[in-house]
Symmetry: C2
Subunit: 197 residues, 2 copies
Amino acid sequence: MGKNSNNNNYDFNIKINRSTISKQKLFVLRLDHRPHRDLRISTHTALVARAFGMDGIFFSGVPDKKLCEKVNKVTENFGGDFLVRTGCDWKKIIKEWLSQGGEIIHLSMYGLTLPEIIEKIRNSSKDKLVVIGGPKVPREIYSIATYNVSVTNQPHSEIAALAVFLNYYHKGQEFYYEFKNAKIKIIPNKNGKKFAT
Amino acid sequence: MGKNSNNNNYDFNIKINRSTISKQKLFVLRLDHRPHRDLRISTHTALVARAFGMDGIFFSGVPDKKLCEKVNKVTENFGGDFLVRTGCDWKKIIKEWLSQGGEIIHLSMYGLTLPEIIEKIRNSSKDKLVVIGGPKVPREIYSIATYNVSVTNQPHSEIAALAVFLNYYHKGQEFYYEFKNAKIKIIPNKNGKKFAT
């Protein structure tokens, strides 16, 4: 990170073993987290990011230790490396991400149709920061974003949008991705729960 | 519905214009909704079901007028027909669904891998009821289900699981689906918000 090495929040060169699922760094920036109101929605979002092969998630808004603990507990049990940070300054993250040569993908219901833009995104060798709202996304995000992408043009859920985007981006590789150092491993099963520990 | 025609909750032959996206009826059953705790998660789930081409959603658990109103408001503005019912008896719904020749798809992190089972599900001409938890899914769901399907074997979000399942089931047709009688229609756009009313 050079000049910003003192700022843990924005240390994109995190000490995780990068996943093999993507050559590029792949992070989410979730805007405007509010602890009580958003805990479950934000936990779902973070767990989707992890399960679908991202490196980590940044939340702007209010710091939330409980959210971090919940997500870290899953990583501890189910393996892999995943970074979660709350209380981040979204403007600073975006500025630094771009200054380091990364690109911004903003998911909303207004952007370009996912299946039509995904190949271009996939073919770019730049690191990706995927930005998702918040009910109130600042207007400037639309112009800052390298790509504005829609996962249908209907209102639904940023959790769903993120999952479907990542599934397209990874071409479904996440279904076969092995998380390192997992304490619990689920074995696909026809009609019950089967797991190895 | 014949013998159960007095029971609105379980009237699968709802008076909606069936979507053209799927020949089969396609409903969600979301187990154990609790109004305050689950309002946002359940709203996301219902809106995903709608946006990705389903006919409606049933919630077991506590009745929740506010949830219905939120979902119906979106349908009113963005078009199409979508049924939402809360406070349903999940055992009765499943029993009647099966007795009418439908099948049950249960999404969890334990089931068979989605890309490997989806063609079989897609090729079946039976109506589909997609069941999703709740943190505590009754064990019998696993044996009642026609298909237990996993959307990765990692813990994440039933909202994401539903969206990715439907995207595979519809082969991405939902991106091009037109909702009838929409008051608001979003036009995909490179860097702003564009819509027709």
